[in-house]
């Protein structure tokens, strides 16, 4: 995986989608979720992806996160064609370069916050002692010092999402994929989470791709991409480096 960063084409794109389509089903019942997406994302960007339900924004996100495979088109991640990678190679790509934050948190139940954050490090084979230290630091970075031994059931929604963010950033990913990270949270908590994501973008240079349908949240991003009926409708440059307000 550790080939020359940013590919051989001379451009600095971290992510490059060309003509990506995604079709569910076949024949007359075929549903075209994506109808040809061209998109480039550079290192350190904070991109918000917006659009109504069914516009294909989540599908695109899943393809970007290597959780799903496109029907056609090419996806270059750091210049590497993800389409040529095997299932296991895609898993290793996720393990080393991608962090995920989901709307539903997707933490392991009845498992302490610390163990949840340690999980990706276990799959990366980080030794136990180092794992604990890094997980503690990641929890501290999201403001959860003292909550390490609490299980998701004992944490509020905002705290659970913080644990999920800690789990995503503990591997120091190139890209953090956030799929409606504030979808289950109230507005105050949502702003706290967005501040946190912005801080990671700004201070650690982690590229963030975030799907949201709340305009309030999209303004945190530098660039907003609007999806409609499976294609990119408009792209808006917020003109600011990272955080608004």
């Amino acid at each position: 995986m550790n080939t020359t960063p940013y590919g051989n084409n001379g451009k600095n794109h971290l992510i490059e989608l060309k003509g990506i389509t995604k079709v569910y089903g076949t024949g007359s019942v075929a549903m075209h979720a994506l109808r040809g997406i061209d998109l480039c994302i550079d290192p350190g960007e904070f991109v918000a992806v917006m659009g109504p339900s069914g516009s294909g924004k989540s599908t695109c996100m899943n393809i970007l996160g290597c959780l799903d495979t496109p029907s056609a088109g090419s996806y270059l991640f750091k210049g590497i064609d993800v389409g040529t990678l095997s299932r296991d190679q895609r898993a290793i790509l996720r393990r080393n370069y991608l962090g995920f934050v989901f709307q539903g948190f997707n933490l392991l139940n009845r498992t302490s916050a610390l163990e949840n954050v340690e999980l990706p490090l276990i799959y990366r084979g980080v030794p136990a002692r180092q794992r604990h230290d890094r997980a503690r630091k990641a929890l501290a970075a999201v403001g959860l010092t003292g909550w390490e031994s609490h299980t998701p059931g004992e944490l509020s929604g905002g705290q659970q999402q913080r644990v999920a963010i800690a789990r995503a950033v503990v591997i120091e990913p190139e890209v953090l994929m956030a799929d409606e990270p504030t979808g289950n949270l109230d507005s105050t908590t949502s702003r706290e989470i967005m501040d946190l994501l912005s801080a990671f973008n700004r201070e650690h240079g982690i590229t963030i791709v975030m799907v949201t349908h709340e305009a309030d949240m999209a303004v945190y991003a530098r660039r907003t991409i609007h999806f409609l009926d499976g294609i990119i409708d408009t792209e808006v440059d917020n003109g600011k480096e990272g955080v608004v307000q």
């Binding site: 959780l67 495979t69 296991d88 898993a91 080393n96 995920f100 997707n106 392991l108 799959y123 084979g125």
Partner: protein, 403 residues
């Protein structure tokens, strides 16, 4: 990674205490039941075998009438034996220890106000030798008593208990039909036969007295023969059959109208009975193992939603399919072997207690322990592992979306 995977599996077990313990419980019940049942069955078989040897394993019974399977009984149509037949066996057959002609009848024993229904056997002293049956007190029949057919008797332990209680019966008189009979000896207790008959519920009188005073004929019902040490009962049986065919003038090709039964035959009848019993118990236990397995399957399927999402999460953060599978496999193996071990211990302990309560020997059967353990492990692995495999093969996003 292997150690880490084991760690992940152990964490997953610890995290889901209820689910884990229910899984273990299912296996414990199944394995425990199988081991208990089969071990008890083995104990029953061993006990039956030892009871048969208490009958005297070198003993043969010669009875008039054709063979029919099961203990006791004769065909009335066949001509009965006479004392001569017993004497001929004693004289002509090689390798005998003792021969006793006998007669059997059921009657009431009366003494004072006590009344007991029992079996009267007319025997010679040789009967005690054939049955290897020592006296608890008193003496055998004297030569004169045997010859003259005097009204004396030796009683079994049950008769002593029922009629005399704690009193010493030797010298007392009991009444058999119209015959007043003096008790000269008491037999040691032999307990029940493998068929549940009380061997001690018997009154022995001299054969001559039995024939003359109780039956009014000279018939002999069955001839009990014991082979000397080191002599095969099969050979003795064949010799006796040949002799009796000659004496009873049975042409070659005609069926015997008598039957020589050796204990091997009874042993095989009884062991086949207990084997069926063991198989039956084993089948019941196998059903409980199956039910335990279904319990495990239920638990696994109920938790499949949660687990599928867990698998999706693990895949999303970069776990390989085989790492997830290995974790679930280890989880299933650990749970089922742990359950299997507890089941084995529990099964052996309860079999031990059961054997103690039922007064049976405890026969350890390593084979069934291994079979039960392997089966339980297989059940655990199949039902724990395969749903997980289905999930781990999904695209991560499908597993994550699973509802």
């Amino acid at each position: 990674m292997t150690w880490e995977t084991i760690l992940l599996a152990l964490r997953a077990i610890r995290r889901n205490v209820l689910r884990s313990s229910l899984t273990i419980l299912g296996i414990v019940i199944g394995v425990g039941a199988v081991i208990t049942m089969v071990t008890l069955g083995g104990g029953a078989t061993a006990q039956v075998t030892s009871e048969i040897s208490s009958l005297g394993s070198n003993m043969l019974q010669v009875r008039p009438g054709q063979d029919f399977h099961g203990p006791g009984g004769t065909r009335s149509s066949a001509e009965p034996f006479k004392i001569d037949d017993a004497e001929a066996i004693s004289r002509e057959i090689f390798g005998l220890e003792a021969v006793s002609p006998t007669g059997t009848s059921s009657t009431q024993v009366i003494s004072g106000n006590k009344n007991w229904s029992t079996t009267i056997m007319g025997v010679t002293n040789a009967y005690l030798q054939v049955r290897d049956w020592p006296l608890e007190s008193g003496r055998e029949f004297s030569e004169a008593e045997s010859r003259s057919g005097r009204a004396v008797c030796i009683i079994g332990a049950t008769i002593k208990k029922e009629i005399f209680g704690d009193k010493d019966p030797v010298g007392e008189t009991i009444r058999l039909k119209k015959l007043s009979c003096q008790v000269v000896g008491v037999l040691e207790s032999k307990g029940q036969t493998g068929f549940g008959q009380d061997q001690d519920d018997v009154v022995l009188v001299p054969l001559r007295a039995f024939q003359r005073r109780l039956k009014g004929n000279t018939d002999v019902g069955a001839i009990y023969v014991s082979a000397a040490d080191g002599i095969s009962t099969t050979t003795v049986k064949e010799d006796i059959e040949q002799l009796m065919r000659e004496r009873r003038r049975i042409a070659s090709g005609e069926d015997d109208d008598f039957h020589v039964r050796d204990m091997q035959e009874i042993v095989s009848t009884l062991t086949s009975t207990t084997r069926i019993l063991t198989a039956l118990l084993g089948a019941v236990a196998a059903v409980s193992l199956l039910v335990g397995g279904i319990g495990i399957m239920n638990i696994m399927l109920v938790s499949v939603t949660e687990r599928t999402r867990e698998i999706g999460t693990r895949l999303a953060i970069g776990a390989l399919e085989r790492e997830v599978l290995m974790q679930f496999l280890i989880e299933a193996v650990v749970l089922s072997s742990f359950g299997g071990l507890i089941g084995i211990i529990l099964g052996l302990v309860s079999a031990g207690i059961g054997a103690h309560i039922l007064g049976m020997p405890f026969v350890f059967n390593a084979g069934i322990v291994v079979i039960a353990f392997v089966f339980s492990a297989a059940v655990g692995v199949v039902f724990g592992f395969f749903p997980a495999r289905q999930a781990a093969r999904l695209d991560p996003i499908e597993a994550l979306r699973h509802e």
